[in-house]
Symmetry: C2
Subunit: 279 residues, 2 copies
């Protein structure tokens, strides 16, 4: 695989890089951000995957979430993938919640999405292969987090592959998409009408079915205008009913913005660092 | 004066607001950001003015600089003014370093700029009057900082009005504009050809003439691509020759971006908080 450096900026003693490569999974050029902490100069460092929400590119969280300072202190890298395939030859939709910017971290089986929209494959196999071959990262020490659609991605990926992702957290995740109007629309478009396939990508369903072998940190704002799409109470109920080790924090006054994300980023990076450094 | 709330988001336990008002100084509507820390609920809090650089609005630093978390911890507010008047009726230039987004924190005397470009008056008189009447802020405890053109604004304003601004710092300031091609172009456009007027707005000249009655913190990246416009060594020489109490830090590998700004924001907020809380 070849990779092109788009930019590299010194940041909190480390380097915030942006890189582009031809993706086989997505069948188009893909761009991602990678923050390497100062400790990356001495050894392979743990990795935190940060999955972003609807409409975001690799850039939004990289600029707004304030993760780098905490990652520098804890000696972990942070990877910021894009949220979908992109380009003139890639299918799109005029709505913000479908198509480019809205990959939903699934492998689409339906037309017109299936030729490019393979974000599960991209985030869990292809991009890891690339970054672990190109950078000084500890493949045995990976955690995953994300915001909104990215929180959905983080939770579903971690519960499906707990041996790979040793820590997981989420900020305002889309938590029960098989039961919400927006989620059902996206699943029907990308995955067709087989409910068994949908269930593989629903945090609440996965929680009731298998859970996660470790503590989960979830933050949610009570003033979030998208609560009906997120369905936090469905996931909270599932966590409670199966006895999952989790801290599910509801925050008065907080909304869905990056001001919310940034406010709790320190706790999320610490949550992952404690587990990823535990060896 | 009337003021309109554009947005308010919970942020690090406080509120990041954006407000709009009709400015008499700039003769147009102006927008600014204000971060109120949690402590603002109990008492009037100190204020840090953050002046932004060329091309920025009130929004860039508010989103990218990561100041709010540190301001919350130290119990100080941060104000993010816009960098110029704006609107269809406001003069502009096709270059990024003149006109809208490039107010340079001076009161223009020349055509076509003088009807609106009065950013010195706006930042030092009109906007303070508004915010101190509308919010729970301690008018007796103000500090000022900024980046690039905003670092120029912070240093020149603080040295001119040290009784008002009890602490000052700057990140990659435009430090000697009377001697650089870009600075001379801007001064000629806004202020005409009287060198005495230019000198009132040059940090290096003001440092040699009066200095500042307190310690100054300045950070500058050595990999900054705009060093010829910034002229940090001229200011460093002036600081050294007059014996100004200052920490002028040059940072290897750092450039001019917000990744640089965010990396050192903790130190700047602490620098101000220590002085503003000293009473």
């Amino acid at each position: 695989m070849s990779m092109e450096t788009v930019s590299e900026n010194a940041c909190f003693g480390g380097v915030q890089g942006v890189y582009r490569h031809e993706s086989t999974a997505c069948n188009c050029a893909m761009t991602f951000g990678l923050y390497l902490p100062p400790a990356a100069g001495q050894k392979d460092v743990p990795v935190l995957w940060y999955l972003s929400g609807l409409t975001c590119t690799h850039e939004n969280a990289m600029i707004k979430a304030g993760a780098q300072g905490w990652a520098a202190r804890h000696g972990i890298a942070v990877i910021f993938p894009d949220t979908s395939p992109r380009g003139d030859g890639v299918a799109d939709d005029e709505e913000y919640d479908l198509g480019q910017g809205a990959g939903f971290y699934v492998d689409a089986t339906e037309s017109p999405w299936s030729p490019h929209f393979r974000m599960w494959e991209y985030v869990t196999r292809e991009l890891p292969e690339l970054v672990f071959s190109e950078f000084s990262l500890d493949q045995g020490s990976q955690g995953i987090t994300g915001h909104s659609m990215g929180g959905h991605g983080a939770l579903t990926i971690a519960m499906t592959r707990p041996d790979t992702y040793r820590s997981v957290s989420a900020l305002a995740p889309i938590a029960n998409p098989t039961r919400t109007a927006m989620g059902r629309k996206q699943f029907a478009a990308y995955l067709g009408h087989d409910p068994d396939r949908w269930s593989l990508h629903d945090s609440t369903v996965l929680m009731r079915k298998k859970g996660y072998p470790g503590p989960i940190l979830i933050d949610q704002g009570e003033a979030d205008p998208f609560l009906e799409h997120l369905a936090p109470s469905a996931l909270a109920d599932a966590i409670s009913s199966v006895g999952q080790d989790a801290e599910f924090r509801m925050h008065k006054r907080y909304d869905h913005s990056y001001f919310f994300v940034a406010s709790f980023m320190e706790d999320h990076v610490r949550h992952h660092a404690e587990r990823l450094h535990a060896g």
